[in-house]
Symmetry: C2
């Protein structure tokens, strides 16, 4: 976790905020939001909202009343208390890539497996810049479809001692995640008091919340586990092509989802979600790390603060097919604004490639380096008389050098950022070391990190209970 | 040229600025600045400053009086008036890489030649994101040392119609640059009225201005041509290891150099220069694109505004030995803060590699892509009712898509950033196109750009006069 005490970079004028505020109000009032789950529609109806079939036309003031019930900040506990996180305020927490069916490992691109899932969980455990392996770090295609969620949650619970994300494929999958979380943390009360798993609920944008996602949301909200209500907006496909239009749609969708959460369980923790980029109108493919997404991200942060909600945006996003220069600059073009916006919950912070279709080992390391650098960069400078090192100037004088100065000698070990991946070796030495580019070096860091990985200890009784639960549920599911 | 109308990202509190302000005052008062040119020392002495040998101890109030004479903003004319630039205020102008002895062209790294110099000038001419090829885009090692500056200025004048930087190796080289500029622009009066060449004067940090650089500065300032007075600070070598110490030293050096410029010719245009990074204390090599340099860059912009001076910082800097992921992320880690700071004059904005030892063709294209993206990103959003596209929502409704919506169809050609280099092709199509990474694709863009290059027209009489001048001076110099 990282506390970002640098200024926020806000680019919306008060007038612009007012226009956007009127925008979402008009959408929820006149067009409404579709909820493909009768229980959701019933809740809104009972609360006095206008219902037409499964479309709810919402009173904006009602929405604001509901979101005011959501906590502005909250804790999520990890089984290692040192890894618990606080969501909101100045805090930033980071999860790894989520949802990729494929893996890139060096030059090879292939279907992801459960073994990849485990290795990516181990990498996530190994770097302090990552607060959570996330949920679906990659899709374990070789595990049986019906019980795959059990394998994933079990891996996250046993290979890491950090917070993890819950399965959202269905209501029963969510219920299984919650049961396993109860086992790990000592019962329902323990996790209702301090939540222990975050889940991603995506909107089927535009303006529709689907049944399976809502089933999962009902489970998690009822159990007081935080959900990230996330409009999934690729401008040009799921939203209009103008950023202001996408921002108002995002507000309409996220705020309506958050209102539902508060109807399910008033006061339950939520995160205002944003996943906002655009279609490449030439190729028809999604485009990431674009100027539009960076602008959208900065605006999202400002708007979430305006409505008093912790928020999710950003990550290390790229369209690139390999871990190349494009992958690096697009990812940083997203990650740096993620810090400028002071994002509270950052998904896809390490390992994302090819528009999210691929989890890439080498890219994971590139992103870790970016996170390391940005944490340093977003740490306020201490400026006082002592930091001016006037004595060093007196010692060195004109045209000399500071390499051997007393001030330098006292500080040389930790005065500057120390890279994990980047090389400053001179050309001859770099050649001698194999002339490896950053991606090739990252591959070596992956191998060493996995070799050095140590599984965090877990109480034997708890592990046995988890094993029993997984075995029983797997049998019930017929796998 | 680009007008940056986005907010500046300022991270120094008023208290911090006050501490830094006291810092440089103490340095110039108690330690003083060395000027290795008797005429410079004489000017300070005549102005009432305290002189000990070639060290001048300066009254900070005297320095502030001098820098108040410098224009806050000014024009630099190009021979194509459409390419003239304005330095200062909200304007940002960009020059290519400067000073590299080596070239990287694909997998080959070798000595740079005059042919490379010309090709890089042609690339600079071809991209509107670059306002100037700069000066020494690479070192033309195969041209005779004594007359090489003539070849470089001639290439810049004839292969581009943009502004160019002057030679600073010696006073006579500077005089030659000025003479050639007079020929191109129609005489001394024309360039004294509106300057036509910018020159880089580096400090031999700490606190020493060298004789040859000062010789060049005297020529350029006397001719009213702007100089960029640039402390050259790699923390740990040329300055102490703390950022505040480097910032105060930077102020002491730059402001003393600017004061000298105003003594040479009151009111002559200057740019507050900054080149601030650090040594990698492990390898002993310079390190670029570091968190420290990004922080220093943001502070430099704020301080330059505090003292009312146009400023230079940033660029696309990296330590990387190849055009890889590291090169991309380190460059953006410098370039994005360059925009956040609103830098007026940006050197090394395209083509820099390996700590500035290498000018790289492919990296040039990567940087052009970054500049294109950042210009888009730093263009304020227009937010009004029309931008909300409410009609598109009415048309599409819930769970539909906007690909065929009227609002989209009217705007799809130019609604989003269109990349030069980045690919969003799906994996199969990318493979079919050769599976080329960004660097390999950049290589193709270089070749196509050079093939499409058209030399800008130049009046025959002027060209003949330049030819004559170069031939005569080359003979005089014995080459």
């Amino acid at each position: 976790m990282f506390r970002n005490l640098m200024p926020r970079y806000e680019i919306l004028s008060p007038d612009a905020v007012a226009v956007l505020d009127r925008g979402w109000r008009r959408i929820v009032t006149e067009i409404g939001v579709q909820f493909a789950k009768p229980e959701a529609v019933e809740l809104f109806k009972a609360a006095g909202q206008s219902v037409e079939g499964d479309v709810v036309k919402l009173d904006p003031e009602f929405i604001l009343e509901q979101i005011a019930k959501a906590p502005r900040e909250f804790d999520v506990q990890a089984r290692n208390p040192a890894n618990s996180v606080h969501i909101g305020a100045d805090q930033m927490a980071f999860g790894a890539v989520y949802g990729s069916p494929f893996i890139r490992d060096g030059e090879v691109r292939r279907d992801a497996t459960l073994d990849d899932f485990r290795k990516l969980a181990m990498l996530s455990q190994s770097f302090s810049q990552i607060d959570s392996a996330g949920g679906v770090i990659c899709e374990p295609n070789d595990a049986p479809l019906d019980s795959r969620h059990l394998d994933m949650v079990y891996a996250l619970q046993t290979l890491t001692d950090k917070i993890y994300m819950g399965n959202v494929v269905s209501g029963p999958n969510a219920a299984d995640t919650i049961k396993m979380t109860e086992i790990l943390f000592g019962g329902r009360d323990a996790i209702e008091t301090v939540p222990a798993t975050i889940s991603l609920i995506n909107c089927n944008s535009p303006l529709r919340w689907d049944d399976r996602m809502l089933d999962a949301q009902f489970e998690y909200c009822a159990a007081n586990q935080p959900v990230v209500l996330t409009p999934f907006l690729l401008m040009g496909a799921m939203s209009p092509v103008t950023i202001p239009a996408a921002l108002t749609q995002q507000l309409a969708e996220a705020l309506s989802g958050i209102a539902l959460a508060q109807l399910i369980r008033p006061g339950c923790p939520v995160i205002f979600g944003s996943f906002l980029s655009n279609i490449d109108m030439q190729s028809g493919s999604p485009s990431f790390g674009t100027p539009e997404s960076a602008i959208g991200l900065l605006c999202t942060g400002q708007l979430a603060r305006y409505y008093g909600l912790p928020f999710r945006t950003g990550g290390g996003l790229t369209s690139s097919q390999s871990c190349d220069a494009q992958a690096a600059y697009e990812s940083l073009m997203t990650l740096l604004p993620t810090f400028l916006a002071g994002t509270n919950w950052v998904m896809h912070a390490a390992g994302w490639l090819e528009g999210g279709l691929v989890s890439c080992y080498e890219k994971f390391i590139v992103d870790i380096e970016l996170l390391r650098m940005l944490r340093e960069q977003f740490t306020p400078l201490e400026i006082d008389e002592a930091s001016l090192a006037f004595g060093a100037h007196e010692e060195v004088g004109h045209g000399g050098h500071f390499l051997g100065a007393e001030h330098t000698m006292e500080r040389f070990r930790d005065c500057f950022y120390r890279p994990l991946l980047s090389s400053t070796a001179n050309y001859e030495r770099w050649l001698k070391l194999g002339g490896k580019d950053a991606t090739a070096r990252a591959s070596g860091i992956v191998a060493k990190t996995l070799a050095d990985y140590e599984q965090p200890p877990l109480d034997g009784a708890i592990r046995a209970e988890l094993d029993d639960f997984v075995a029983r549920r797997r049998a019930e599911l017929g796998d």
